[in-house]
Amino acid sequence: MNAIETTDLTKVYKTKTAVDHLNLSVAQGELFSLLGVNGAGKTTAIKMLSGLVKPTSGDAVLLGKSILAHPQEVKKLINVSPQETAVAQNLTVRENLELICGIYGSARKEAKRKAQEMLCSFGMEEIARDKAKTLSGGWQRRLSIAMALISNPKILFLDEPTLGLDVLARRDLWSTIREVKGSITIILTTHYLEEAEALSDRIGILAQGRLKALGTPQELMRQAETDRFEDAFVALCGEPTKRGDKR
């Protein structure tokens, strides 16, 4: 069984088709990146797959559960690290982790145990008592990803996880993502092409809501007849960059 199967997944906002008949299969344990310029439909696709937005037509099945027929069941299987840092500002690092455990149904004792495990594996023991709002951008993003992982999701959505981070913090997060890669299915959206190239098993390129190209980074470069991934992206994307219409 695939982790994700979409069938003609479509979202129309008034007159704009954000995602247009998206047909996609993602295997379990795969790290799949969705690339595209602003307004290409990446975030809308993730919002539909994570149950935030209902598709206008089509469906997606996540580990056998339809997002239309069983949205609550799907929510138990997934977790999301949103584009911006999504932490409770006045709670400590430990409390943020325990909060997510509680929301996903863990008893108090179990939540404490899981939070401690996550603090250790993410190297956050020293800042466990610090309030989230006092952390640097890099540490907040790391906490955000830890919060997404603590519910043991089968599918993890990482929406531009390294946006706005400096090179060191970004490389740090890459190693964190590599550590969990393979054990869960990861759907990554990013504007950093080298990030997608370095981390992804396969990449899908979206433009104007449509899937324009699909394959491993090497396959995409071969398809575009270039040895630079950035050139391959530009060639396969095939649309001028439109700024400021991101959903």
Binding site: L52, K75, V80, E84, V87, L91
Partner: protein, 245 residues
């Protein structure tokens, strides 16, 4: 369990915001002290403590709207709401999680207000407890207003609507500072149509032991609380379903 975890988070967010505590609890007490001081220096009965305390308690509840509105609006305008919406937390869990922490906060605020009034000469009797009980629907009304504003507006807009408009409406149209009959006309008719003066009157009757006069005013407040809370729940549900929270 899920709702309890979320409610606990909201409680911590509220009580750890010092500005919330200073304004929510401190400001009504300052007003109570100031007006009692004025009363002690004028020969006529302007601000009798038995009349003033329920009014200040209701006025203080407008800050509860501000707190709840701010909390929800801040969650909405950050990605934190996105995280919550992709979790298994249901719409009912969301609303309960936002509402439950505010009720004890409102009760605590009223207790502090009446406690301060006791120090300023209010006689201690069981009617104080009744007054707090009678003001609970008003607390729910203000929480409902906060939920609605927080669901519809940004945190800056909540500051304008709840922080400026609602506090002023609660102050001027509740009959706390002056009897609205003194102004009369349209002003009094509007004050009578809104729930604020009814909430204050119900509290005053409870405190004075005039039990038979409580219900007509309390009915207005309960009616408003049910309608406003109903609208807030419907709007939240609608926005959650449409992915537009």
């Amino acid at each position: 369990m899920k709702t309890a975890a979320f409610a606990l988070r909201n409680t911590k967010e509220l009580v750890r915001d010092r500005l919330n505590l200073v304004f929510g609890i401190g400001f009504p007490i300052v007003l109570l002290l100031l007006l009692s001081l004025i009363q002690s220096n004028v020969p006529v009965e302007l601000f009798a403590i038995g009349q003033l305390a329920p009014g200040i308690a209701v006025f203080g509840l407008s800050f509860i709207s501000l707190f709840s509105g701010f909390l929800i609006a801040k969650d909405r305008t950050s990605s934190f709401m996105l995280r919550l919406l992709t979790s298994p937390l249901t719409a009912r869990g969301f609303l309960a999680g936002y509402t439950l922490p505010l009720l004890p906060l409102a009760v605590a605020q009223m207790c502090v207000c009446f406690g301060a009034a006791l120090l300023l000469g209010l006689s201690f009797n069981a009617n104080i407890l009744l007054a707090i009980l009678v003001l609970l629907p008003a607390a729910l009304l203000y929480i409902g207003i906060g939920l609605l504003c927080g669901t519809l507006f940004t945190d800056k807009q909540v500051g304008g609507v709840c922080g400026a408009l609602l506090t002023n409406l609660s102050a001027w149209l509740s009959g706390t500072w002056f009897d609205t009959k003194l102004v009369g006309g349209m002003f009094q008719r509007i004050a009578d149509l809104l729930p604020f003066s009814h909430a204050v009157n119900a509290g005053r009757y409870a405190l004075a032991g005039e039990f038979s006069r409580i219900l007509p005013d309390l009915g207005w407040v309960i009616g408003y609380a049910v309608v406003v809370f109903g609208i807030a729940v419907a709007v939240f549900h609608h926005r959650m379903r449409s992915g537009n929270v």
